[in-house]
C-alpha cells in the first residue's frame, strides 16, 4: 500500500490540491481501471489482509507450540505442576487433554478451526475462556488507546506545525529535535516521571488504577508521547519538503500569509504521507498499552499480556498477539482503501512494475516511513 504513496509517480511530483493540473499525472488507463477495478481491488485487499492475519496466527502458533522443547511442561508449569511428578498415565492424560498427543498438523488444524469459530482456547491459569477474558479487558484498553491516538495526533501536529512555522532559529532547532527525545526515553520511565510529578507532587491526577476519567489522563499521555514523536518527525519532514514546492511560492505571491499558505496549501499535501504511518501508530499504542498498563496498574489487555507471559499462559499470549496483529492489519487495510479517496492522483488499481506489488503493499509502516524520510528533497 504504502509504496504506491512514496514511490508512485504522483508522490514525486506532488502538485497543488486543485484537480485540474494534477489529473494529467493519472494516465487514461488508470482512470478506466479505477472505475472498473475498484471492486476487485477492494476484494483483493481484504483477501490479502485475511491472509496476513492467518499467517500471523500461524507464526504465533509456531513460536508458542513448536519452539518450546516441551509444550506440555510449559502448560503444566503454568499450573504449578512439575512434569516429573506425574505418573506415565497421568502424563498421557494431560497430553490428551491439551491435544498434544496428536500430530502437529492435526493440532494446528484443530486450533485454527477453533479460532475461526471464535474459540481462542481456555486460559490455563484462570480457567476462563480467552474470548471472555479479552471481552472483559478490551473496553478499558480501547478507551485508553483511542485517547492516546488522539493526543498523539494533536501533539504531533502541533509540534510539526510549529517547527515548520517558527523562524527563530533556537526555537526551530528545539522543536525539530524535540521528537528525538520523545522517542529516546522509554515510555515506562516517562510514565513514572509523570506519576512522580503530576500525581505525587502536584496531586492533580490519581497515580494508578482505572477509576474514572481522571485516571485515564496520565497513561494516555504516556502512550501518546512516543507515537506523537514519530508522527511529528514524519510530518515535519514532509511539511518542509512541501513548503519548498513552487506552488507555495505562488500562494504566497497571491498575498496569502505564511500561516495561511502553510495551513491551506502545505498541510493538506504534507499530511497525506503521514497516513501511511497510521498503522505504526496503532501498533505503537498496542505495545505501549502493555508497558503503560503495567506502570499504571490498569486492568486492560496490555496488563493481561504481561501477566500471561509471566505465568506462561500460552493461549492468552497467543490471543493477545493475534489481536494486536489484527488491529494492525485492519488499520493498514483502512488506510489502503481510504488513500485513493483522499488523494485522487493515486490509483491502486494500476500496478506499475516498479511497485514491487505484493511485497510493497504489505510493507511495514516503519520501512515506508523510512522511505518517506529518505525521499530526496
Amino acid at each position: 500500500m504504502t509504496a504506491v504513496v512514496v514511490d508512485g509517480p504522483a508522490a514525486g511530483a506532488v502538485a497543488g490540491p486543485a484537480p485540474g493540473p494534477t489529473s494529467g499525472l493519472v494516465s487514461g488507463a488508470a482512470r478506466v481501471a479505477r472505475g472498473a477495478g475498484l471492486g476487485r481491488y477492494v476484494a483483493g485487499r481484504v483477501a490479502q489482509a485475511l491472509v496476513v492475519l492467518w499467517a500471523a496466527w500461524t507464526a504465533t502458533f509456531a513460536i508458542l507450540w513448536l519452539l518450546p522443547s516441551d509444550p506440555l511442561a510449559l502448560l503444566l508449569s503454568a499450573n504449578n505442576v512439575e512434569v516429573d511428578s506425574l505418573s506415565p498415565a497421568e502424563l498421557a492424560a494431560a497430553q490428551a487433554r491439551y491435544g498434544l498427543d496428536q500430530p502437529v498438523l492435526v493440532q494446528y488444524g484443530r486450533m485454527l478451526g477453533d479460532a475461526l469459530h471464535g474459540d481462542l482456547g481456555v486460559s490455563i491459569t484462570k480457567n476462563v475462556p480467552v474470548t471472555q477474558l479479552l471481552a472483559e479487558r478490551l473496553p478499558g484498553t480501547l478507551q485508553l488507546s483511542g485517547l492516546a491516538v488522539l493526543l498523539a495526533l494533536a501533539g504531533g501536529l502541533t509540534v510539526a506545525w510549529l517547527a515548520a512555522w517558527v523562524r527563530w532559529r533556537p526555537a526551530k532547532v528545539l522543536l525539530s529535535r524535540l521528537p528525538s527525545a520523545g522517542v529516546a526515553f522509554p515510555s515506562f520511565w516517562v510514565g513514572l516521571l509523570l506519576i512522580q510529578v503530576f500525581a505525587f507532587t502536584l496531586g492533580w491526577f490519581p497515580s494508578t488504577g482505572d477509576e474514572g476519567p481522571a485516571a485515564l489522563v496520565l497513561p494516555a499521555v504516556t502512550m501518546a508521547i512516543p507515537t506523537s514523536a514519530v508522527f511529528a518527525q514524519v510530518l515535519t519532514r514532509s511539511l518542509e519538503d512541501t513548503l519548498a514546492q513552487p506552488w507555495i511560492t505562488t500562494a504566497r505571491a497571491t498575498g496569502l500569509s505564511r500561516a495561511g499558505a502553510q495551513a491551506r496549501h502545505a498541510l493538506r499535501n504534507a499530511a497525506l504521507p503521514t497516513l501511511t504511518i497510521l498503522g505504526l501508530l496503532v501498533g505503537g499504542t498496542v505495545t505501549g498499552a502493555i508497558v503503560t498498563e503495567t506502570v499504571f496498574a490498569r486492568q486492560g489487555v496490555g496488563m493481561l499480556a504481561q501477566e500471561a507471559v509471566l505465568s506462561q499462559d500460552v493461549p492468552v499470549v497467543q490471543a493477545v498477539v493475534v489481536l494486536a496483529a489484527a488491529a494492525f492489519v485492519l488499520v493498514n487495510l483502512l488506510v489502503d482503501l481510504l488513500y485513493p479517496l483522499l488523494d485522487p492522483r493515486i490509483s491502486h488499481a494500476v500496478r506499475t512494475p516498479a511497485a514491487r506489488t505484493p511485497a510493497a503493499r504489505t510493507s511495514s509502516p516503519r520501512t515506508s516511513a523510512a522511505r518517506t524520510r529518505r525521499r530526496p528533497s
Binding site: A181, W189, I195, F200, L310, S364
Partner: protein
C-alpha cells in the same frame, strides 16, 4: 536535551549533504574500470576523509558519540568508574539521596545505585549486542538470498518477513520469551528476531539496486562467479544503509531490552538490567524517586545519543 541543542540546524546540514549526493558508488565504479586498480582505492580513501571531515564539523555528533562510547566502556569495565560493589548491601545507608559518596544514591538495601547502573549496563550491552548480531546475520542472509536469487525464494522469504512485520515488535518478543523462557539471552533473541525484518528488507532493496549496476555486469562478463560477485561487489556496496539501520536499531533495541526487563522477563536478581532497576525503584517512587528516574535518564540519554549518531551518519552518507 543538550545533545539536541548543540547540533547545527538542519538547513545548514542539508548544504553539506549536497557535496555527497552524486552517489557513493557510481563514480567509483566508473573510475575503477577506466583507470585501473589503484585509483578507486584512493577515491575511496578521499571519500572517507570527506565523510570524516563532515562528521567532525558537527559538534553534536561528537558529543553524542563520546557519550555512547563512554557508556559502552563503562559497561564493559565498570571498575574504571566506580569502586563500589553493586551487590554489597549496607542497610544503614539505605535509600540515600544522590550525594558525594553515592552519585546516584543508594537503593532499598543500601547498594550503590551508580555502580548498579554501570554493572547493569554490561547485561544490557550484551543483550543488545547479541540481538544486533543475530538480526544482522539472519537479516543479511535473508535479504541477500531474497534479492540475489529472486523468483519464488524471494517471494517466500519476503512474505515471511511481512508476516513478522504485521506483529508489533514487543508482542512478538513477548511470544518468544513465553516460549523460550526468561533471562538476558532469551530477551536478546526475542529483540533480535523482532528487528530481523527491517534488516532483511533493507538488504534486499540494496542488493536489488546494486546487482543491476554496470560494475556487477562487468565483473560477471569478466568471468567472476556469482559467489565472488556477491562477496566482492554486491555486499560491500550494499553495506551503507544496512549499517545505518543497524545503528538506528541499536537505540530501539536498548529500549526493547529495557522494556522487557522492566516487565520482569530479564536477568534473575540480584543482577539487574536497567529496566529491572527502574521497575524495582517503582515501589519507592514517593520517597526516593531517583531510584527509578536516574537509571531512566541514563537509558534515555544513551538512546538519544545512539539515534543522533545514526541520523547524522544517514544524512552524511546520502
Amino acid at each position: 536535551m543538550t545533545l539536541a541543542l548543540t547540533r547545527p540546524a538542519p538547513a545548514v546540514a542539508s548544504g553539506d549533504e549536497g557535496l555527497l549526493t552524486d552517489g557513493p558508488d557510481g563514480p567509483d565504479g566508473d573510475e575503477g574500470r577506466r583507470r585501473g586498480r589503484r585509483r578507486p582505492l584512493e577515491g575511496r580513501a578521499a571519500r572517507r576523509a570527506t565523510t570524516a571531515r563532515l562528521l567532525l564539523r558537527r559538534p553534536g555528533f561528537l558529543v553524542a558519540l563520546a557519550f555512547v562510547v563512554l557508556v559502552v566502556v563503562s559497561a564493559l569495565a565498570p571498575g574504571l568508574f566506580t569502586s563500589a560493589d553493586p551487590y554489597a548491601t549496607a542497610p544503614i545507608d539505605k535509600l540515600l539521596p544522590p550525594g558525594p559518596g553515592h552519585p546516584f544514591g543508594t537503593d532499598e538495601l543500601g547498594r550503590d545505585l551508580f555502580s548498579r547502573v554501570l554493572h547493569g549496563g554490561l547485561l544490557t550491552v550484551q543483550a543488545v549486542g547479541l540481538a544486533l548480531v543475530l538480526a544482522l546475520v539472519v537479516g543479511l542472509t535473508l535479504g541477500v538470498v531474497a534479492g540475489f536469487v529472486g523468483g519464488w525464494v524471494d517471494a517466500v522469504v519476503m512474505r515471511a518477513v511481512d508476516v513478522l512485520l504485521a506483529i508489533p515488535g514487543l508482542l512478538l518478543a513477548l511470544a518468544i520469551v513465553t516460549a523460550i523462557g526468561y533471562g538476558t539471552v532469551p530477551v536478546a533473541v526475542a529483540v533480535g528476531i523482532g528487528i530481523v525484518p527491517g534488516f532483511a528488507r533493507t538488504t534486499r532493496a540494496e542488493v536489488l539496486r546494486v546487482r543491476t549496476l554496470p560494475y556487477v555486469e562487468a565483473a560477471r562478463t569478466g568471468g567472476a562467479s556469482w559467489g565472488r560477485v556477491l562477496l566482492r561487489h554486491v555486499l560491500p556496496n550494499s553495506w551503507g544503509p544496512v549499517a545505518v539501520l543497524a545503528v538506528l536499531d541499536l537505540g530501539a533495541a536498548v529500549i526493547a531490552v529495557a522494556a522487557l526487563s522492566f516487565l520482569g522477563f530479564g536477568a534473575a536478581p540480584p543482577a539487574a538490567e536497567w529496566g529491572t532497576l527502574i521497575s524495582t525503584g517503582r515501589s519507592y517512587l514517593v520517597t526516593s524517586p531517583w531510584l527509578s528516574l536516574l537509571p531512566g535518564v541514563f537509558v534515555g540519554l544513551l538512546v538519544l545519543g545512539l539515534n543522533h549518531v545514526a541520523r547524522t551518519l544517514e544524512e552524511v552518507q546520502r
